[in-house]
Symmetry: C2
Subunit: 400 residues, 2 copies
């Protein structure tokens, strides 16, 4: 008796759950330390100690009616001001608190934006490979997700294909950089070119096309790589952020949206985002966590932990003969499958207790995603299995 739409989604979700259950089963059979589960993007390093300290300070010093109470649906004024000021320091912008909407994580923020903007049948473009949940978020509001095919040479957005796919019904394009699943950071050149196409199409069609950026991995950029701040390149850019990865708080559901003054109908968009936050049932971002992150705006998780994993995994797999674009950010590696059907590759890897996600889940078959937000030992200990796997596929090891 569930809705027709949900029937398909429950089925899709069962596949993910089946993989998760298989991981647990394998752990029970072989011991957790002998299972190398690279399938989950679940941070496994703790939040900085300052977060818990901030929470306890707030509880002991501030008025409980305020701390646990309702506020403006867009968030506490002082928290929004603090977030804006922090962005202005980092990016040379000049946002006021009015531009900020505190959200139930980045996923909540994206849903708020699609509720705000989409009429049924409006098109949202996304670049493959992409995080599969975007499909559901757009569908929640009867939008049509159109997938721009991948550019596998470098996994930068395929702008040639993109230009052809923009229509008068295009309402938004989703950007996700550092990218899940590739770890690629979209270059400044890419962003400039993309902005140019959007401006051109806006003029041509006399429409507004919003760039909606999903940035949970912004702070996870290695070797000093810079992640372009989109509102500097395009007037209709909305940035969505989450503290899930930068502060290791994924369960707390806390993030924000920036809705700059430069947006077409900025005032109306902000008003609608405020109402959407309420009527979608979020009501507001969790109150204590709003106040806590405002005290930790300059904190970060230990990036070196992920960076070390990145190097060990990339070096190891390269030595085995696997091919991939070296990731600059996030905690994912997107590896070319040595088998044409990457699902077969994933299946065979299970023989060595290695779990990976097929690229088909990210609209990019022929590749597999490895999440390296695991313990360093998991990577080290998985390597003999990867080596054997590579040999089975006749890959040329660089070290043998």
């Amino acid at each position: 008796m569930i809705s027709e739409k949900m029937k398909g989604m429950v089925k899709g979700s069962s596949a993910i759950r089946a993989m998760f259950e298989e991981g647990k089963k394998m752990a029970a059979l072989y011991g957790a330390e002998n299972v190398y589960d690279f399938s989950l993007g679940n941070p496994n390093i703790p939040a900085p100690e300052s977060v818990n300290k901030a929470i306890c300070e707030i509880l002991s010093q501030e008025d409980p009616v305020e701390v646990h109470g309702y506020m403006n649906n867009s968030g506490y004024e002082d928290v929004r001001e603090a977030v804006a000021a922090s962005l202005n320091r980092r990016f040379g912008t000049s946002f006021t608190g009015e531009a900020i909407v505190m959200t139930v994580g980045a996923a909540g923020g994206l849903n708020v934006m699609f509720k705000t903007l989409l009429n049924p049948g409006d098109e949202v473009l996304v670049f493959a490979p992409f995080f599969g949940e975007y499909r559901s978020y757009v569908d929640n509001f009867q939008g049509i997700l159109k997938v721009v095919p991948p550019q596998t040479e470098n996994f930068q957005p395929n702008l040639k294909a993109f230009r052809e796919m923009v229509t008068p019904r295009t309402k938004a394009v989703i950007i996700n950089s550092p990218n899940n699943p590739t770890g690629v950071i979209y270059s400044e050149e890419t962003i400039r070119e993309l902005a140019g196409i959007l401006e051109e199409k806006e003029r041509e069609y006399r429409t507004s096309i919003y760039m909606i950026s999903d940035e949970p991995y912004r702070e996870l950029a290695y070797d000093g790589a810079r992640v372009p701040w989109l509102t500097k390149y395009y007037h209709n850019a909305v940035v969505g952020y989450s503290y899930s990865k930068s502060l290791s708080l994924p369960g707390e559901r806390i993030g924000w949206l920036v809705l700059p003054d430069e947006l077409d109908d900025a005032r109306e968009v902000r008003g609608a985002a405020n109402v959407a936050t309420r009527i979608l049932g979020f009501v507001n971002a969790p109150s204590l966590m709003q106040r806590a992150v405002a005290k930790c705006l300059d904190e970060k998780v230990n990036l070196e932990f992920y960076d070390r994993n990145r190097k060990t995994l990339c070096d190891g797999l390269k030595d085995c003969g696997f091919s991939f674009i070296y990731p600059q950010g996030a905690f994912y590696l997107f590896v070319k499958s040595p088998a044409e059907d990457e699902k077969e590759f994933c299946e065979r890897a299970k023989k060595y207790h290695i779990l990976m996600v097929p690229g088909t889940s990210f609209a990019c078959p022929g590749y597999v995603r490895l999440a390296y937000c695991v313990s360093h030992e998991t990577i080290v200990n998985a390597m003999p299995g990867f080596k054997k796997l590579a040999k089975e596929y006749g890959l040329e090891s660089r070290k043998d």
Copy 2:
């Protein structure tokens, strides 16, 4: 450039905001202590101290990766077990943790249920007067909200009208008891009769009709009044709860849904609710708060505070000559407007710095809602104004 749907909603929301702004303006003009704002259902008593204590204990004793981490979208297993066990103790039920979905407040839970159940065009019935946000929640999923007219003698649901309005497209009926805005508790007799009608219609149409109960005010029942636990009366009953009022944690967005074994397609409904929680962008209920409320399941806010307010307000208004059904629960009083157009009454009350919400907002014109979750002094000090107001309308005071 916002969506067509949102345009109307932003407009409606502006009216509420206008009232809020007017309250602030009056406070600035006359001093906050001279403005009697009964318009907001915002608890103004602090959470029990045990809540903050529980939070600090969790932070100092439990693993931060667990406490702030992702878990099953339906919530931590141990928290769900604890909630189920607590319900079983209170209501003699036999729920397992499987029956519980932790939610982003009751509003989040209702959206999860409507996403789970509604096909476009499905009908949801609701009894006037009702909390206006239900209209948006149902509309989020292209459901049709059908309003059963009020039964103003006692504000119990109008079951005669209800029976006529159930059709083969009826997917759910919303129950809200103790009720916002009347404070009335739906009697056991009402619930039995309602369940009987639903069973009859389910047989007649060969459909499933879900009773969806919104129970943020369950613990706010006075004089030992009992709030019937719906799963004992009807097989397709889903209960949604929130700690917003019972623990004064409205900003934290924490609650749960009970999806009993007895539901038609219980397994499928639970699976869909789990997926809906994720794809609507909630992902999961805030993690630290899940663990905190699990440690405070037997705690309650100071009910005597609200009860004292209730008595003072009811006695005072009765003495002025106003008419209303004496509320048994929640913190609302629904007063018959002495003017035919209750908006005129609300306007005139502003002369005495009294703010109330017109019944039209609850699909029940001719009445006004007073929220008495205010300080006791606000009620005492508002009384002279109410007296004058009553005299202006020629009401007969019982004490003069």
